[in-house]
């Protein structure tokens, strides 16, 4: 057992971080939501890093890298608030030509789970910029051409960095993969989304800590007050714990089996636990981040709200905290 990032993984993380600093500064995310804001050249550069093809099999044109590595990379993408259909394209990379290279763009919709079959409207992220739509449910994966999907791009998405479309009707489309592959991709999508959330939670911690160190009131940095310090310490703890949970889920996928008699290493349970932790950490930390920023935290200009809104969108994507909690409970109930 060695449950810590190694030197290669550290290099990988730093490489992605450097790339995001240069190619995806926060202004790119801010511009992303506007009509025509999707920067295809930047997207191809991201794809050139291998980010989208990391876990697809070599036979499908992928790099066949461990999910643990992909999880670390997606943690960085989450920290940097990189916009675009990251998860959808990662899942589509082994199924649809050109996605791994960034020349074809995929959106995705998860049709499983109570929330999806429910009475609400069918809203899909990134369909505006996508060439194809991946529709996943328990029966399999269908690939639809966006032009064939009756939809409307909404003018006022909750997260200004995530364009959203209302889908009026979803055609049947062709089955591109069966139920087993669909289950695998749904789980992968859930864990990588959790990784984005954990990265989001880590970033809001840093933003709040930095602000608390430089913002002065009553003649001293507000970060010297215990009332603020304790908010920040709790943010740090949530980020640390959720990172460990997400990494454990990713490793569980790679190792495909529980360690010893450890029930939490069961792949599905680990993925569900990771979502509970990462979803809550991102939302709670974003809330504290805005609070620590005071009035400025409520402005459009300060980035804090972008992390909150992204966290909320992600927390509903490929699972939810509530459904994940129920899934964990069901696993617990099966233990003797």
């Amino acid at each position: 057992m060695h449950f810590e990032i190694d030197d290669d993984q550290r290099d990988l993380i730093e490489g992605v971080r450097d790339f995001c600093d240069k190619r995806f500064p926060i202004q790119v995310a801010r511009a992303f939501g506007a009509t025509g804001g999707f920067d295809r050249a930047a997207w191809r550069d991201l794809a050139a890093l291998g980010v989208l093809a990391m876990t697809a099999g070599e036979g499908d044109g992928g790099l066949a890298m461990p999910v643990a590595d992909a999880g670390l990379v997606f943690g960085e993408l989450g920290r940097a608030l990189v916009p675009g259909p990251l998860i959808a394209c990662h899942l589509a990379a082994g199924l649809v030509d050109g996605v791994a290279e960034g020349t074809t763009v995929a959106a995705a919709v998860d049709l499983t789970g109570a929330a999806r079959g429910g009475p609400g409207p069918l809203l899909v992220e990134h369909l505006r910029d996508a060439d194809v739509l991946l529709a996943l449910d328990t029966t399999g994966v269908r690939v639809l051409r966006t032009a064939e999907v009756d939809h409307e791009v909404l003018h006022d998405p909750f997260d200004p960095t995530t364009p959203v479309s209302l889908v009026r009707e979803l055609p049947d489309g062709d089955l591109a993969a069966g139920p087993e592959q669909a289950a695998r991709l749904l789980r992968l999508g859930s864990v990588l989304t959790s990784s984005l959330l954990a990265g989001n939670a880590d970033r809001t911690t840093r933003l709040a800590v930095d602000y608390a160190k430089q913002r002065e009131q009553f003649g001293r940095p507000v970060g010297s007050f215990q009332a603020v310090k304790h908010l920040l310490a709790d943010m740090f703890v949530r980020a640390e714990v959720s990172r460990a949970a997400v990494d454990a889920a990713a490793v569980a996928i790679d190792e495909e089996e529980p360690v010893g008699d450890d029930p939490s290493a069961t792949v599905n349970r680990a993925a569900a636990s990771a979502r509970v932790l990462a979803g809550r950490a991102a939302l709670d930390n974003a809330r504290s981040c805005i609070q620590v920023h005071g009035g400025m935290g409520f402005t459009w200009e300060v980035d804090a709200h972008l992390y909150l809104k992204r966290a909320w969108i992600l927390s509903t994507s490929f699972g939810s905290v509530d459904l994940a909690a129920e899934a964990v409970a069901d696993h617990v109930a099966l233990e003797s």
Binding site: V209, K229, V251
Partner: protein
Amino acid sequence: MHLRDSPPDHAFRTALRGWLADTLPSLPPAPAPDDWPARRAYDARWQRLLFEAGYAGIHWPREFGGRGASPTEQLVFLEETALAGAPDTDLNFVALLHAGPTLIMEGTREQQQFHLPRILRGESVWCQGFSEPGAGSDLASLRTRAVRDGDHYVVTGQKIWTSGAEIADYCELLVRTDPDAPKHQGISWLILPMATPGVEVRPLRTMQGGRDFAELFLDRVRVRVPAANLVGAENDGWRVAMVTFGFERGTAFVREMLDARRLVVEVAQLVRSRPPGSGLGWDDAGLRREIGVVAAELDALWALTKRNVSRAQDGPVPVAGGSAFKLFYGEARHHLGDVVMRVLDRAALSAGDVAGLPNSRLVDAMTHGYAVNIAAGTTQIQRNIVAERVLGLPKER
């Protein structure tokens, strides 16, 4: 990054599992919590069995009679003993995890040769005399005085939260030897034999009803402690008390955290045994979600433990990981307590077993969270530590 056992860890796990399967059936039933002599005999027997099997002092260096196990082997030990329902260290906790390591690092040869074998064989029980009524979170403000008188120290003062004092043989005692020095620099570490005339022990009843703690009164008559019982240099006791953290791999609460995971399973089974429609059965999504959240939190703490231990392969756990564990575990324990009480509902009007329900354990699990959030550094002190030492925020004053 991987979670699989290395071949040596796997071999260690297999051998340990076999030994536990052979050994545990021979143990008598666990004694009642308030029967201190019986608890001492039970724990001594278990420690002797560990000693004979080569598992005593698992993280102690070999040259001092320990097993010299790697951090991952230590974790396997905690995991397997928890899974098997083996006894916890309990009354031997202070000796094995604190006093022994302190003597290994700072004791004289004579102190080591006398005490360490007795600790490993389960023959001597230690308690901790650190906190005082006036020195809690601000431990360094302690005021128990020790004045040198020939080849003895004369000690006067009062200690509190001393678990196991009724049956302990020795106490690791922090005393003030220089009242004029800055508070961290006038403290010394003494071995106090509990049989010393003048040591008065008064049990302190906790909110759980048991006598888990005691107060030590060292001020009724002159308590004389041989100067040879000084560990480390005079006035260097604060540093001596801190060196044991070099032994700490963030695993102090791991055994009880693993036991808490078993408890969640038990709670889930209780809920599943109930008829639907009662609001307390498995058909209640709210209850399932609460149970799932607590289980997920404990899963995550187990993952964090593995991370901390992996980071501690070459030394102590960084403060970040240790404090993160402690803070999150405290929160998870309160969530567990809330779930337990909600599941028991009005059955929790009884703190004792009732109508086939194991309330004596379950209700204790509810109140235990209050201990976790105060012991070994309150939640508030831990947050200050994280904020100042990990996040680099300025001190309040």
